[in-house]
């Protein structure tokens, strides 16, 4: 296969990947953040300590993380159709990608938020702050750098997952690599695609690391 044929495929694949990963990251962040925070708050000794809710949320997250992604993608088809009107194509692939990434990110959020010094929470409570104050003014700002690091990890995992979007016609670089490299035995093209994926991953990681460094500069001990 010549470069002339590869180029449009690569371009479209990159666009599809960025499109799917971008949106699903956004949704995973919006879903995983509250879920992760709830996991901390409802834990024993937490501000909203509630063993039942905590165990249920923990179980949901665990099941979400262990279900084979392809199966989840298929099982979600009716839901995807209800949400975006169609169950196939790059837009539709966003739904299972996002839903798969929510429990993944939620666990990372949980770990980050848990690391916030409990003394800061007490300080906010001693000022008369309620749960919202603690979450919005203490837990989130204080764990921001760590949360960004977690989001970077999530984006990279999603780039990996998006290869399976091919099953629902999602396209993207991973699917291209599978189709051309695996099914059409165009090994050279596969390596070029993988190189592009690695470049994207590296850029994401460097960007994420940069933001984390920027946010940590003023931090360390309070």
């Amino acid at each position: 296969m010549g470069w002339d044929q590869m180029r449009p495929l690569l371009e479209q694949g990159t666009i599809d990947t960025l499109y799917m990963v971008g949106w699903s990251t956004l949704i995973a962040a919006l879903g995983g953040l509250p879920l992760g925070i709830l996991l901390v708050l409802t834990d024993r000794g937490g501000l909203l300590a509630n063993t039942v809710v905590n165990k249920v949320l923990g179980a949901v997250v665990n099941v979400g993380r262990s279900l084979p992604f392809i199966i989840m993608m298929v099982a979600l088809i009716p839901f995807t159709r209800w949400v975006v009107g169609t169950a196939f194509g790059p837009t539709a692939a966003i739904v299972p990608l996002a839903i798969g990434a929510i429990p993944f990110f939620a666990r990372l959020v949980e770990t980050s938020v848990r690391e916030v010094d409990h003394g800061l929470v007490e300080a906010a409570q001693a000022m008369g702050g309620g749960t919202w104050t603690v979450v919005l003014k203490v837990l989130l700002p204080q764990s921001l750098a760590s949360l960004v690091a977690g989001l970077t990890t999530t984006v990279i995992a999603l780039i990996g997952y998006s290869a399976m979007a091919g099953a629902v016609g999602g396209g993207g670089l991973g699917t291209l690599a599978l189709t051309y490299g695996h099914q059409r035995f165009e090994t050279d093209f596969m390596y070029i695609i993988l190189a592009v994926i690695v470049v994207i991953v590296t850029i994401v990681q460097l960007l994420g690391d940069g933001v984390v460094r920027l946010l940590t500069r003023r931090k360390r001990t309070g």
Binding site: G119, E122, A123, A126, M127, G130, V138, Q142, G222
Partner: protein
């Protein structure tokens, strides 16, 4: 200003019960600086955390500025609106400062003002005023990591003052600081206490802190207050553990000589008591140990002197000292003041 009645707190952890507070009756008068000392694990932190109900007492009541906080607390574990509002009027400073590293100094001081719902403008004005008050006007835009320990604690104090509290709680606020910085932070607390009429309840394990700023003090042991009162009164109390801890004395008597511990409380210290004793009674007074200081502006302290002859030979000298209004003890005759005695204290 702060009153606790029969306050108890029992922790349950892994099936074991720990009684951290065992019936504490504390009474802090308006405008005074009240120090609580005691060994590690005595329950000091638990006590102060019960005062603003960060920790729910197991039983007993806490009243601050006339409001029964325990009544406001409600059933659930979460702090309801009335309790949260009461807390905005009680400032608290912490040993490890607990400043938000992600906010500037000004931002940290504005946090309680945000909770109070002030506008951005009011917040900024108030925060800058407070920074002026604690002497950090030029650090408004710095981040906590860029500050020294003492500066961090000043920010902590400014933040605690943001809600115009009448009461300031301090849990080992100077324990992480070196002595020079400790002195300046304590001075600031003393000044605020005078200027703003602030009532301060402070917890420490350093006797020096009590000596330097406290009007009253209490000694805790095993979840109970074993001694408490105005510092100068405590000094006048024979056998007081607190007094002995505040002004420790060392030295033992030679054979056939008399050891005398004298406690000065209030004005008498300025008078030439020892030299008068020596001249009037014509005896050699050896000063073996002495700890004299300025406590809350009064010259106070203790001194261990050695007189020639046995105790019974020195009746006149002892009578002279008592006549000067001093507390006179003969260590060894009564129990030695200090740790051994403290169990009977209070």
């Amino acid at each position: 200003m702060i009153t606790t009645t029969d306050l108890t707190k029992v922790y349950h952890s892994r099936g074991r019960e720990v009684t951290a507070l065992d019936g504490v009756n504390l009474h802090v008068r308006p405008g005074e600086v009240f120090g609580v000392i005691g060994q590690s694990g005595a329950g000091k932190s638990t006590l102060i955390r019960c005062v603003n109900l960060l920790e729910r007492p197991t039983s007993g009541t806490v009243t601050v500025d006339g409001t029964d906080l325990t009544a406001l607390a409600g059933r659930g574990k979460r702090a309801g609106r009335p309790l949260r509002e009461a807390r905005t009027r009680i400032g608290m400073i912490f040993q490890h400062f607990n400043l938000l590293s992600a906010r500037t100094v000004q931002g940290n001081i504005e946090l309680p003002l945000e909770i109070l719902g002030l506008t951005r403008r009011e917040r900024a004005r108030k925060a800058l005023d407070l920074l002026d008050l604690v002497g950090l006007a030029d650090k408004a835009r710095a981040y906590p990591t860029q500050l020294s320990g003492g500066q961090k604690q000043r920010v902590g104090i400014a933040r605690a003052l943001a809600g115009d509290p009448k009461v300031l709680l301090s849990d080992e606020a100077t324990s992480a600081l070196d002595p020079e910085t400790t002195r300046s932070v304590l001075q600031l607390l003393r000044d605020l206490n005078r200027q703003l009429g602030l009532t301060v309840l402070l917890i420490t394990h350093e006797m020096d802190v009590v000596k330097t700023v406290c009007d009253s003090a209490a000694l805790m042991r095993d979840g109970r207050i074993v001694e408490s009162g105005v510092v100068s009164d405590l000094l006048a109390t024979p056998g007081s553990t607190l007094a002995a801890e505040l002004f420790p004395l060392t030295g033992t008597a030679g054979t056939g000589r008399t050891l005398v511990d004298i406690t000065f409380h209030g004005g008498s210290a300025g008078r030439p008591v020892i030299s008068q004793l020596a001249r009037d009674h014509d005896i050699d007074v050896s000063i073996l140990g002495a700890a004299m200081d300025t406590v809350g502006d009064a010259q106070v302290g203790r001194m261990r002197i050695e007189l020639p002859g046995r105790p019974e030979d020195n009746d006149r000298a002892l009578a002279f000292l008592r006549a000067q209004g001093l507390t006179v003890e003969i260590p060894g005759a009564a129990a030695t003041p200090g740790v051994a005695l403290s169990k009977e204290g209070a």
